[in-house]
């Protein structure tokens, strides 16, 4: 593990590894661009002005959190509820950060902050896969690969989002772009629902969220999450116990 210069926003990178990262991410460019385009268009179609939608896209760089909080923002929900919703949707990234930190913990703080910010769903999965047998954690090869993938992904996302934001007002409302945002979220959700605890938790969260849809302050969502997580964790515990008895 090496200590590096405390200046600069990026750690030293191997050029060939950076290019490899870009090459690996390139085939994902199209799906990422579709997702960005839809997110951009939906934000404007739902009623955000172009400058606000641009601010949201450029600053957040988090498609699922953007789409999840959009209906709350447009309805004028209390900001703490909006923030809590985004926090919950983003909790999966805490697991990603904990799992991939070894390659980054020795970098200066501003480089870690940026690396974390860029560590989205796709990049995390590909990085973990590529270096799962590595004995050394944190070198210019790994950093090059990481930033090659993730800067490409960032650029593809931002460009397509901006195009979507500019086109959003042209799309007539009857086309159902609001529905498109739920369909895009569905594609994020489905791979997450693996195993009995996750299935039980999401079913409960779905039922509670519908039952609680008109709770004041748009708090139904957080109530549903609390119920879903409780059931998922209880199911997990129960399954461990059953397995322990069987063994």
């Amino acid at each position: 593990m090496q200590r590096t210069s405390t200046r600069g926003l990026f750690p030293p990178m191997e050029r060939s590894a950076f290019r490899e990262g870009v090459r690996v991410m390139a085939p994902m460019g199209l799906p990422v661009a579709v997702w960005g385009l839809v997110t951009g268009a939906v934000m404007v179609n739902a009623g955000l002005s172009v400058p606000i939608a641009l601010q949201m896209s450029v600053m957040m760089y988090a498609g699922s959190a953007q789409l999840a909080t959009l209906p709350l923002l447009v309805a004028g929900a209390p900001l703490p509820v909006v923030w809590a919703t985004s926090l919950v949707v983003n909790l999966r990234f805490v697991i990603f950060a904990a799992a991939s930190r070894r390659a980054f913990v020795h970098l200066p703080w501003q480089q870690r902050l940026i690396a974390g910010y860029l560590n989205g769903d796709l990049g995390f999965a590909l990085f973990t896969q590529r270096f799962r047998n590595a004995t050394e954690h944190g070198n210019p090869e790994q950093w090059g690969y990481f930033f090659g993938m993730n800067t490409f992904n960032w650029a593809a996302w931002q460009v397509s989002s901006i195009v979507g934001i500019l086109l959003g007002n042209i799309v007539p409302e009857e086309w159902g772009l609001g529905l498109a945002s739920y369909l895009a979220l569905l594609a994020v959700l489905i791979p997450m629902v693996r195993g009995m605890p996750a299935v039980a938790g999401t079913v409960v969260a779905a039922v509670v969220s519908v039952a609680a849809h008109d709770l004041p302050l748009r708090s139904g969502l957080l109530v549903a999450v609390a119920a879903g997580v409780t059931v998922a964790m209880a199911t997990e515990k129960w399954r461990h116990r059953v397995q322990a008895v069987a063994a």
């Binding site: 004028g76 909790l91 805490v94 902050l113 938790g201 509670v208 849809h213």
Partner: protein, 109 residues
Amino acid sequence: MSQSWPYYVIGIVGLTVTVFATRSSFFMLPARYQLPPWLESLMRYAPACALVAVIAPGILVPGGHVDVGWGNHQLVAAVASAAVFVRWRNMLATITVGLLVFTALRLWA
């Protein structure tokens, strides 16, 4: 726009803080801090629950009333869409099929 601009600007700044707080979380903490297993399970299940809690009312409560029948075009479109995603894992096809089904139902059903 339905809300005032400071509401959106402050809201989005706060949302950006939540992104950094989660994505960069363990990158910023000293190595001695580990994720306890119970917290990891909580964090594994919470995002899926949150997404479903956004999607389910969005699709099942059109216009403020719960509608879980075949007359709910959004629901039919979402089921078709989910089937396409499970089969092909393709985001573009998933959204396209869903919107086509929705539009077909809107025009002809």
